[in-house]
């Protein structure tokens, strides 16, 4: 990479770094408002001026006073998001690999995925609800809502796999075959590891999209709310800073998860470099 051996940074680096910093500030700005407001005292509201300082609202989350069933909804959302992520990754990767060849019905599947992306979630929700009602099956968060969310995450997963596999150099696979690897071995040891970051991207999208999903879940969740539904319903009544406490807690958990993920990636990288002496692919994260 240009400048890899060159330790001086061009001016553009600083300019871009400054831009990036501003962007991060933009992203986190409102979050900071949330963090601050979540530490209010019992009389606090969702706007300034601040009313006291306490951990009251965090406590409220646990004791569930006046906050609806946040804990339950949170559990369900996490479980649902986990299921959606796993299914999205598996199905998207498989389908992405399938699309490397032309096969019967490829166009149909592709356009159905695009249409699924475009259709307003509210309608997917309504449609699934109606179908389930006609079939007499009860909608549940782990059934109909799961399906509804998949219609949202699978197109994203598929398109990302397209992007990732599109620039994939077949030479590696050919080399593996030449060396006598079976198809399965090739997949396991060559293809998947190279596209792993793309797969992680799909997983990330799948989780985020599911965890935060609202329109597709609103009419398919059955008698138990997911977190976004619970939050939305809460805003139709007096909302307390408990809502913001949720935001703060989620962020803290996210940072912990990321910290763990990063440390493990760093450790894996170090082990890989030590084992193979491999310079990797030019320093790109791929």
């Amino acid at each position: 990479m240009h400048g890899a051996a060159d330790h001086s940074r061009p001016w553009t680096f600083y300019a871009l770094a400054a831009f990036f910093a501003l962007f991060v500030l933009f992203l986190y700005g409102p979050m900071i408002v949330i963090y601050v407001l979540s530490f209010q005292g019992p009389n606090g509201g969702l706007t300034f001026p601040l009313q006291g300082v306490s951990l009251h609202w965090f406590n409220a989350l646990i004791t569930q006073e006046r906050t609806g069933d946040i804990a339950g909804a949170f559990r369900r959302s996490i479980a649902l998001a986990a299921m959606v992520t796993v299914l999205t990754v598996v199905l998207s990767v498989m389908a992405g690999l399938a699309f490397r060849r032309r096969f019967a019905g490829a166009g149909l599947v592709f356009y159905m995925a695009i249409a699924s992306l475009i259709m307003p979630g509210l309608f997917v929700s309504l449609g699934i609800g109606l179908v389930f009602q006609m079939l007499g099956v009860t909608p549940t968060w782990y059934g109909s809502a799961l399906g509804a969310q998949l219609t949202w995450t699978l197109p994203y997963g598929l398109l990302i796999m397209f992007a990732v596999l599109g620039r994939f150099n077949r030479a590696y696979e050919e080399a593996a075959s030449d060396l006598g690897a079976s198809n399965w071995q090739r997949l396991q040891h060559v293809t998947l590891p190279i596209v792993l970051p793309g797969i992680i991207g799909v997983a990330l999208f799948g989780f985020t999209l599911s965890y935060d999903e609202f329109p597709r879940t609103v009419l398919t969740s059955g008698s138990s709310n997911t977190l976004p539904l619970e939050i939305w319903a809460m805003t139709t009544d007096v909302t307390s800073p408990a809502l913001f406490a949720v935001g703060t807690v989620t962020t803290v958990i996210s940072f912990i998860v990321i910290g763990v993920a990063l440390t493990s990636i760093a450790l894996i990288e170090r082990r890989r470099v030590r084992r193979a002496g491999n310079p990797g692919e030019g320093g790109t994260v791929s």
Binding site: G45, E65, L126, S223, M234, D237, V238
Partner: protein, 433 residues
């Protein structure tokens, strides 16, 4: 929170209720399961779970918890915003056991047989229910305004499978009235500094850019109609059931006001209305009673103004879904009786809502609270909201006064009008103008 002074008795009461309900169940058509043995029945009922779904101002988790405690079976509350609620009730009725909707929704509930009627004989408190609901009258015999959907109009049914309502009292109820209130405009008296007496102030250019209306079309348009009629532009035959011409005129006035910058925002969540007021973005807006309470509990002055032209009334009711039967249905009737037996009434009173059986609610409020919330008398002690937070300082009276001063002055009721289809389209035009 008020402790139930009759804790010990409630066990006995429950047993008695169980016995009588069990006996009733034995006689009820179609419930072959139960043969009237309280002990066996009490065993089975432990496993019953009822899911009540309603707005978050009504389907409150604390009520569900108390009900589960008092009744011995599980009552679960699920909140849904109005749009999702209506869609769920219509499309996924089996996911709901107790429907908790506003009275005007009964047109859908009954029209599509989504809920089942309640025989008056099964409900203990009908005689003690406020006559607004039972007779459509005030105690002095005056008829309650029937503009909009008066609950009385949708209260009684001719038969179990009826899709329309009876003109007068029968012994089948379409739902049990639960919470209701008289709505008006909320203001920031500290930022307005003069008396507000008429609905027309909503359109007063003095408050340009500092007002807000609720964004729900069927309610927003009524608040607008109250303001427009008060200003003298138009006299409506029935604000709750406008003709196309009236709708057109109303919307065009609204569009003019919007273009002139009269409105700061239209709020669609309760929470928005609280924030708008609390932050001072808005000084006068359509508002709901607990929102006023919420703003006040943040030490910000907010006043729910009694206006000359009267209030906009609304009421909610609960009813068992049509698919309930057998032991679940019995539990549902149990629950309906528990609902208005007082605890719930005492709880929501502190948000400013009235119970349809005030005598029972009174048992669960202190004398001071009763005087403040229902009698309109000045509070002797500080008044707290249902969660114990300070709402009102001692010495002040409830905005608008006593129960009958407020509920006795209803100009129109929340409703869905005949020209609803047309109205929603025009409303969208207003919003996108």
């Amino acid at each position: 929170m008020i402790k139930n002074p009759k804790r010990g008795n409630s066990q006995v009461t429950r047993r008695r209720l169980l016995k009588s309900a069990a006996a009733g169940a034995g006689l009820a058509v179609g419930s072959g399961l139960v043969k009237g043995f309280p002990t066996i029945w009490a065993q089975n009922i432990k496993d019953v779970k009822l899911v009540q779904v309603g707005g978050s101002y009504s389907a409150i988790i604390d009520i569900g918890r108390q009900a589960s405690k008092d009744l011995g079976f599980q009552v679960e509350m699920q909140t849904a915003d109005h749009d999702a609620l209506m869609n769920r009730l219509v499309n996924e009725p089996k996911t709901i056991d107790i429907a908790d909707t506003e009275f005007f929704a009964q047109y859908y509930m009954v029209g599509r047989n989504i809920v089942q009627p309640i025989p008056v004989s099964k409900y203990k408190w009908w005689d003690k229910t406020v006559p607004i609901f039972t007779k459509g009258e005030y105690p002095d015999g005056r008829k309650v305004s029937a503009q909009g959907t008066l609950p009385y109009k949708v209260q009684y049914l001719e038969s179990a499978s009826a899709k329309t309502f009876a003109k007068g009292p029968t012994d089948l109820l379409s739902g049990i009235p639960t919470v209701y209130n008289a709505d008006t405009l909320g203001i920031r008296p500290d930022l307005i500094k003069r008396k507000i007496e008429r609905w027309s102030e909503l359109l007063n250019p003095e408050f340009k850019g500092k007002t807000a209306i609720v964004a729900v079309p069927s309610i927003g348009i009524m608040d607008a109609a109250m303001a427009i009629e008060s200003r003298g532009d138009l006299k409506y035959a029935d604000k709750g059931n406008m003709t196309k011409a009236e709708i057109d005129k109303t919307i065009s006035i609204l569009i003019d006001a919007k273009k002139a910058g009269q409105f700061r925002a239209f709020w669609s969540t309760f929470d928005e209305s609280v924030n708008l007021m609390a932050s001072g973005e808005v000084v006068l807006q359509s508002m709901w009673s607990p929102a006023v309470t919420a703003v006040r509990s943040r030490n910000i002055d907010c006043y729910y103004v009694p206006l000359q032209e009267g209030y906009r009334g609304w009421g909610s009711c609960i009813a068992p879904m049509a698919h309930l039967s057998g032991i679940k249905l019995d539990a549902a009737f149990e629950y309906l009786n528990w609902y208005n037996s007082g605890w719930q009434g005492g709880f929501i009173a502190k948000q400013g809502y009235y119970s349809s059986v005030p005598d029972n609610a009174k048992k669960f409020m202190t004398a001071d609270e009763w005087d403040y919330w229902y009698e309109g008398k000045p509070a002797k002690d500080d008044i707290k909201d249902p969660y114990g937070h300070l709402m009102e300082k001692a010495g002040r009276s409830r905005d608008g006064g006593s129960f009958w001063q407020r509920m006795g002055n209803i100009a129109c009721w929340n409703t869905i009008m005949d020209e609803d289809r047309y109205m929603v389209r025009k409303w969208n035009e207003f919003v996108s103008a």
